[in-house]
Amino acid sequence: MKRPLMAALTAGVLVVASACGGSSPSTGSGDDGGPPKPGGTLNIAMPSDGTTLDPHESPSFNTQERVGMTYGRLLRHKIGPDQPYGALKLEPDLATSWDISEDGLTYTFHLREGVKWQNVAPVNGREFVADDVIATFERIREKGFQVGALGPVTKMTAKDDHTVELKLSKPFAPLLNNMADQFMWIIPKEGAEGKFELQTKAIGTGPFILEKWERNVAATYKKNPDYWEKGKPYLDRVVFKVVPDQGARIAAYRSGETQLVGATTDEEAVALERSVAGTRVLNLLSGTPVNLFLNVDHKPLDDVRVRKALSMAIQRKSMKDAIFKGGQYGGPVAVSLKQWALPDAELAQLQPTNPTEAKRLLAEAGYPNGLDLKLMVTQGYGPLYPRVAEWLVEDFAKIGVRAKIEVVEYATYFTSRWPKQQYEMSVGPQTPFLEPDYWLRDQLHSDGPRNWMGVNDPKLDKMVEEQTQIMDPKERAEKIKEIQRYVLEQALPPVQVWNHPTKVLLHQEVKRFHPQPEYGYPELRETWLAQQ
């Protein structure tokens, strides 16, 4: 039941990666234009709307993007011109400090005092306390799709109004990162108790108050005057307008009706940039690579030689020049997560392109005359993926693999074909996870909830479990890199096609927009408008 929801999330990957990407360090600081000026309304075009605002019900970017500005988290990621895209440095949000016991089994969070909930009934500006955190986590454990983020937490106690203690049955290295995860918003206990409807309302401690949500039309936010960070946010209002049609989104951007838009292709970005003078372009790295999912339960995709041959057939460099106009080699952990990703040079070396060798491997595996495979793709993620699929068909033909494209309707793709492993090969994105644990354990462990490829490698399982036990981040990063090397050497799916860039275009009056690759637009607490 959770799977379709999880998959729904990926719906917006492309758009989100572009709409909430981040600035490259070089373009960041120069455009901030002096001291912030409060006021004004920022209009952002979104391609679609969520079905619910309940942050525990749907991991869809549509849901999470709409509540992120309203809620706070225990920890959050640093935002600013000095933070390179993908740095994801932790900083206090609702917890001002935290202690971790020697054995890694007890986490104590000291909560910020004097934080008020937004002044909306029925919470009415009450003070934020430890019970709210407990209520949130209990609701997550009861019904949240993000329950895995709490890992082996066994006991949660409010020591006093401003202290929360979590007890674990074994060490769990991702826990602290998960407290700042894009799905770990803290809700008021009134919400958990059902005193207001979380599906249609969001009352949090965040910088903006959700004023009105008209489904499939717009979500309107106003400044939260009681926000704990004094003087912020600068914007009076933020409006997410739902504009499903890309052409209409471009037109709205051109006319100034919206001041921020994510481009789905490089060609569109070029056209957009030309259309409005002074447009600023943020060149970002997508939070998910373009993946070639292989169903390893389908013979002969269980054969490492066949998988390697497929990977070696992909002309990544010319694809970069012809289609993506940038980007990097992809890795098992998204390369946008700088701290955990393998260096580009190593990824290049681990993913060579060599059709001759690929043919030899296929022959060795018993397919001297090539083989027939189906390649599934959906148009639900925009035009990029079908285009890549057609490209791959040509690359595979060169090594004798006759790939036939199956275009699958989006709902079928994410509710059955992909999660139920009813495919041979598939091109698509993955949810832009923020913790390597999601990328590795959820996706590649034999018991992983997102393992929709049939990966079952006992050695990998063991390594993936080990990394959750390594508390030292440096040491853990080494382990995570080692796992990635192993995955690439075994050509385990998903085969990385390319980690593409995405572009966000901003009108020049939008200042201090420095996103990280996460959902929820937390960066808007810093953003201001030069002309209003």
Partner: protein, 302 residues
């Protein structure tokens, strides 16, 4: 179509046939068509070009429609690519030429299937009347009450994207048209004297329907088929545009439109030329249909 068998009845009783002068040769008929219906003749010529393109695409087309020239992505019209190249460096002209194969194939198959089914249902319904008519027409009415593209979308998405499934979906869509026309014609023919004569002579119902009914409605069916052909080509393009028609990388015109829409601002040739091909073909079929209708209509003074 002109050598209508009139075994059991004097041709003079058939209004359409009567006007066609039984002695007129096919050649004379063609000349008369060109003379009286110049637009129709031009349309027929366009369709002929379309058919030649479809059959000769692999010989005439300058490039392989699937070959990706990865150094020439999204290039405007030039000597190398007369109508430009698409988002994977494929030649747009060659793809349009090969695309005519798909359009022609889908059009022909759909019209044949729906003609066969529709005419059978219509003739049976019209001649037999009574409960058969009521049931069949009720069914046809029900089908006509559903917006055609929605129905096709529904069927095509149930079956999944492939050329055969598009044909199936569109055939279902087109059957009611033929059934309606065939029924109307059959009702008209049924009241003619030569049918009564055939009945008196002891001809079976099947024989009357097939030997006396069908031949006399051929002109009407040709008109409907010609008009329908255009509709089917557009519908195929629409279904493919919506992602449930002919799957990539086949160079279907609808697929070319759908892919071109993304690059409209930077590479208008990707959408304009296949769009023109669709418009020209559909217009030709419609004008031909109109011309044929006028040509066969005895009430129009020539």
């Amino acid at each position: 179509m002109s050598d209508t068998p009139m075994t059991a009845a004097p041709p003079a009783t058939d209004a359409a046939a009567a006007d066609r002068m039984p002695t007129e040769s096919r050649w004379a008929g063609l000349k008369r068509f060109v003379r009286t219906q110049p637009m129709g003749a031009v349309s027929a010529l366009v369709i002929l070009v379309f058919i030649v393109l479809a059959f000769g695409a692999s010989m005439i087309a300058p490039h392989d429609p699937l070959a990706q020239d990865r150094t020439a992505i999204l290039q405007g019209p030039s000597a190398a690519h007369l109508l430009g190249s698409d988002d994977l460096g494929r030649d747009v002209l060659s793809r349009i030429m090969h695309g005519s194969q798909i359009s022609l194939y889908v059009g022909t198959m759909t019209i044949m299937i729906s003609l066969l089914l529709g005419a059978t249902l219509g003739i049976a319904s019209g001649y037999l009347g009574g409960p058969v008519d009521a049931v069949l027409q009720g069914f046809i009415d029900a089908m006509l009450s559903i917006p055609p593209l929605i129905l096709a979308l529904f069927i095509a998405s149930l079956l999944g994207p492939s050329v055969q499934n598009v044909i199936a979906a569109l055939a279902v869509l087109t059957v009611p048209r033929f059934a309606r026309i065939a029924r109307g014609e059959m009702l008209r023919i049924k009241s003619e004297d030569f049918i009564s004569a055939a009945v008196v002579l002891g001809a079976s119902r099947t024989r009357i329907m097939l030997r006396h009914g069908l031949p006399n409605m051929v002109p009407s069916l040709i008109v409907v088929a010609s008009l329908g052909f255009g509709t089917v080509i557009v519908a195929e393009a629409a279904l493919t545009f919506l992602g449930i028609g002919t799957p990539p990388p086949n160079p279907s015109w609808g697929l070319m439109l759908s892919q071109g829409a993304t690059y409209f601002q930077v590479a208008p040739w990707m959408i304009v030329f296949p769009g023109l091909a669709i418009s020209a073909t559909v217009l030709a079929f419609n004008l031909l249909g109109d011309a044929l209708r006028d040509f066969f209509d005895p009430k129009l003074v020539r």
